[in-house]
């Protein structure tokens, strides 16, 4: 019974004289091996070299800030709700008077955690977020032997606040801040 057209019947005839010398067979095999040296490599030497990501690549999460540097996240829990891996947890707190420059909304995430061991990088959190607070970036979580390092806390996720010097530079004033 023939299942595919590619199947070949095994030739069980006794070897001819030239076949029993093995040399033509050896050379044929070597030709295949040497031919691969000149072909394009299938691998890259990561981490010195990286492959380009596709524009829709979903990598490590980031918690965004608004134009005034305030945290956008309001701990509404929709990212945790939409998360199919249940990787996201959070605890909310109320903004106190005087904290308006830190948090955009009346409520904010006091604790925010993503378990990158559970995360499947589906991007549902990004889609669910009503405040445009969470984004998936083009970087991958750095590998590590310790599992503890994969529990990303809010400090690890939050976009760093702009320093004064950076802000001044952005406004077109390149003079560094006097100490």
């Amino acid at each position: 019974m023939q299942l595919t057209n590619r199947s070949k019947a095994v030739n069980r005839d006794p070897m001819t004289f030239s076949e029993s010398l093995y040399i033509p067979g050896l050379l044929k095999g070597m030709a295949t091996t040497v031919g691969h040296i000149f072909k394009k490599k299938a691998t890259v030497s990561y981490p010195e070299e990286t492959r380009p990501f596709s524009p829709v690549f979903r990598g490590l999460h980031i918690l965004n800030r608004d134009e005034e540097g305030r945290e956008k996240c309001t701990a509404c829990g929709l990212c945790a709700l939409s998360c199919p891996a249940e990787a996201i947890t959070m605890e909310a707190a109320e903004r106190l008077p005087g904290e308006e420059h830190l948090y955009r909304e009346e409520k904010y995430a006091a604790k925010y955690e993503i378990n990158m061991l559970r995360c499947i990088f589906c991007g549902f959190c990004e889609e669910a977020c009503p405040k445009d607070a969470i984004y998936l970036t083009q970087s991958i979580p750095p590998p590590n032997y310790d599992r503890e390092t994969f529990i990303y806390k809010k400090d690890d996720l939050l976009l760093p606040a702009k320093t004064d010097a950076q802000e001044r530079a952005a406004e077109g004033d390149p003079t560094p801040l006097q100490p």
């Binding site: 309001t74 509404c76 709700l81 249940e86 707190a93 109320e94 106190l96 955690e113 061991l117 503890e148």
Partner: protein, 369 residues
């Protein structure tokens, strides 16, 4: 004079139902149930005189009655219109009604801030349900929404006037449940607001029920404020021996923590039995209550998310690993040692009001491991 018949027959969306004379169309539709029932934002069957304000329950009466078969000229508010013998009503089968509901929803949302991500009512909000079901995707309103300063109306109840849709339910509740009503509607028209008479606090024994009757997040529980989203807490029915009320409540728990206590609600989102402030605000220990079992939650509700049925906790499952591999598995990570969320040192359910940054200070969660 002939005696009035014991029951009269009405047809709602081609479904006949026999009801007692004096029943309203809305109540008759609720007897049929399902999609036929018009939504109601202000009508509350437990409160006398409620209804007729929000206009979401508009229906078309295509045949007035057996004796006078003319249709009613305009859409009528089903919560305030009594049924007649042989009346034919169109609710979801009428395009006019669906269009009117869409319009009413747009009006209700005109001044609504849509701050659902912040609001504690999200997930059990009737206005949210209404706008998902009947509302349009966008708004045509171009002006500023009206805003209010936050007003303190007592130690336990938070008033967010921006979210209010002026359904008057809380006013009727205070009028009919307590001996002295201390809040009401001030001013008229677009300026009308729910408020206490110049900064009075609401502290009647049963005033906490205004939180439950509020269809939106205008009145919320301060002791639950921002503690958790409702859909991350597990509702269980519980009771206790209460000297002032029936003591039959619904607890919203996370693990053994009681985050919130509310009255039990029926399928129309109406309170079954009123509960007192003591049960609602002060009994936040699981040991205060006799837990009857998980509440029945509509499986289309977001609150039913994560309620896995028939799942045993790890302590209940017989550990077969030693038999299989000769030893217990080595745990590579204990999430409770690493995670900052839900630390045993930070007991959110014990904090009187909303948590602040100070409640999560680093020295509160030093590991003793």
């Amino acid at each position: 004079m002939a005696e009035a018949p014991a029951t009269i027959k009405v047809i709602i969306d081609n479904i006949p139902v026999d009801v007692a004379p004096g029943t309203t169309i809305l109540q008759a539709a609720r007897m049929i149930g399902g999609d036929v029932t018009p939504p109601a934002m202000c009508y509350y069957s437990k409160l006398e005189g409620s209804g007729g304000k929000c206009r979401t329950c508009l229906v078309e009466v295509s045949k007035g009655s057996e004796k006078d078969p003319r249709p009613m000229p305009k859409l009528v508010a089903s919560c305030r219109t009594g049924v007649m013998d042989g009346m034919e009503v169109k609710s979801m089968t009428s395009d006019k009604v669906l269009d009117a509901r869409k319009g009413v929803t747009e009006f209700l949302l005109l001044n609504h801030p849509l701050d659902c991500p912040v609001c504690d009512q999200a997930g059990e909000c009737h206005l949210q349900d209404l706008s998902y079901e009947h509302g349009g995707a966008g708004t045509r309103y171009e002006f500023d929404r009206r805003t209010f300063d936050k007003e303190d109306i007592g130690p336990y109840i938070q008033l967010h006037m921006t979210r209010c849709i002026m359904c008057y339910r809380c006013v009727y509740t205070a009028q009919q449940l307590t001996d002295q009503r201390e809040h009401g509607v001030l001013d008229r028209g677009d300026h009308s607001t729910i408020s206490t008479c110049i900064g009075k606090a609401l502290d009647n024994e049963f005033i906490g029920n205004v939180i439950d009757v509020c269809p939106v997040g205008a009145l919320t529980d301060k002791t639950f404020r921002f503690k958790n989203r409702v859909w991350f807490t597990k509702p269980v029915d519980a009771h206790r021996d209460c000297p002032t009320c029936s003591g039959k409540v619904r607890l919203w728990m996370r693990g053994n923590e009681v985050f919130r206590v509310t009255a039990r609600k029926d399928q129309w989102g109406e309170v079954e039995e009123w509960i007192c402030n003591d049960c609602r605000f002060h009994k936040k220990e699981a040991s205060d209550w006799t837990i009857e079992g998980p509440s029945v939650v509509n499986r289309h509700s977001v609150i039913s998310q994560g309620h896995y049925r028939g799942v045993a906790s790890p302590s209940q499952v017989q550990n077969l690993m030693p038999e299989i591999m000769g030893r217990d598995p080595k745990f590579l990570l204990n999430i409770h040692e690493v995670s900052d969320v839900n630390r045993p040192q930070v007991d959110l359910s014990k904090i009187g009001g909303p948590a602040h940054g100070t409640n999560f200070l680093p020295n509160l969660h030093t590991d003793d491991v």
